[in-house]
Subunit: 142 residues, 2 copies
DNA sequence: GTGCTTGCAAATCGTTTGCAATAGC
DNA sequence: GCTATTGCAAACGATTTGCAAGCAC
């Protein structure tokens, strides 16, 4: 995680801070688990009992629009979120549902910019799906 | 599109043919528009008025399970489908919502297999998002 | 006090499920 | 006749919308 505080991080991305926005952004920065909106909601309810799920959705949309967070569509069932860090690929275990990071230097990550056909890409995602190391281990025992 | 008939294509993938399955698979093979389940349903209703949306969903799941079709999660709003052809990347225009193919030889496509971290990938998707050539053109006129 | 933010309740919409009717061998 | 497939209606669940109350400058 960056040295910069989450408060300053929001300011840097032109997001006006609030208790709720700080909590959501902080959660994303501290947990690399690629949580869904509901995951975040459930966890933050402990510290902000009045929190509404609508606010979590609103905040996540705002963060993505301002480039402070990233939305992942790797899981067909629901989107999940990631703090905006260096580009990296993602791996979804179709057995346990966990999403893992694959560091940049270990996989080739595609660049954005002008594409053949005249399209202009602003975002690229590299998704892998399969069975993760834990579930592979569990298979062997059966 | 392959020379092989859709009937034989289904047999090749161990999918027992039926009127509905042939129609769905045929639609996917003839239309490279990356349709959603609903797109397919609406179009096929003209030729099969008794078709049910449940059958379209069942059939698409079956086709994906048998490796005859591919499910794309590039659009956060709904999954869409592609006939199974050579690996290629996809581009989503966030303005008009269209999904384009990017041929293999024009983008780097990631290989499946063992990944760093001990995960085993069976599928890889490379997704780009941005503004397509048509919407870029329209922007200029405004 | 004005404008943005929050949060409740209801609506929406893609997808799945339960189950009875039907078709194919 | 038995088994797999189809299709209707209802359920489900994630996300969005409408709107009133609350907060901040």
């Amino acid at each position: 995680m960056d040295k910069i505080s989450t408060y300053d991080y929001l300011l840097q991305h032109q997001v006006k801070p609030s208790v709720q926005r700080l909590a959501v952004m902080d959660y994303l920065r501290k947990h690399k688990t690629h949580p869904t909106a509901d995951d975040i909601y459930v966890h933050l309810l402990k510290e902000i009992p009045t929190l509404s799920k609508t606010t979590v959705y609103n905040t996540l949309r705002l963060l993505v629009e301002h480039g402070a967070a990233r939305m992942l569509t790797i899981d067909e069932r629901n989107v999940c979120f990631d703090a905006m860090v260096e580009p990296h690929a993602h791996f979804l275990c179709t057995t346990c549902g966990r999403v893992y990071d694959l560091p940049t230097d270990e996989v080739s990550v595609a660049p954005v910019g002008d594409l053949p056909g005249g399209h202009k890409a602003v975002e690229a995602d590299l998704y892998y799906r399969g069975t993760c190391c834990h579930c592979l281990g569990a298979e062997l025992k059966n």
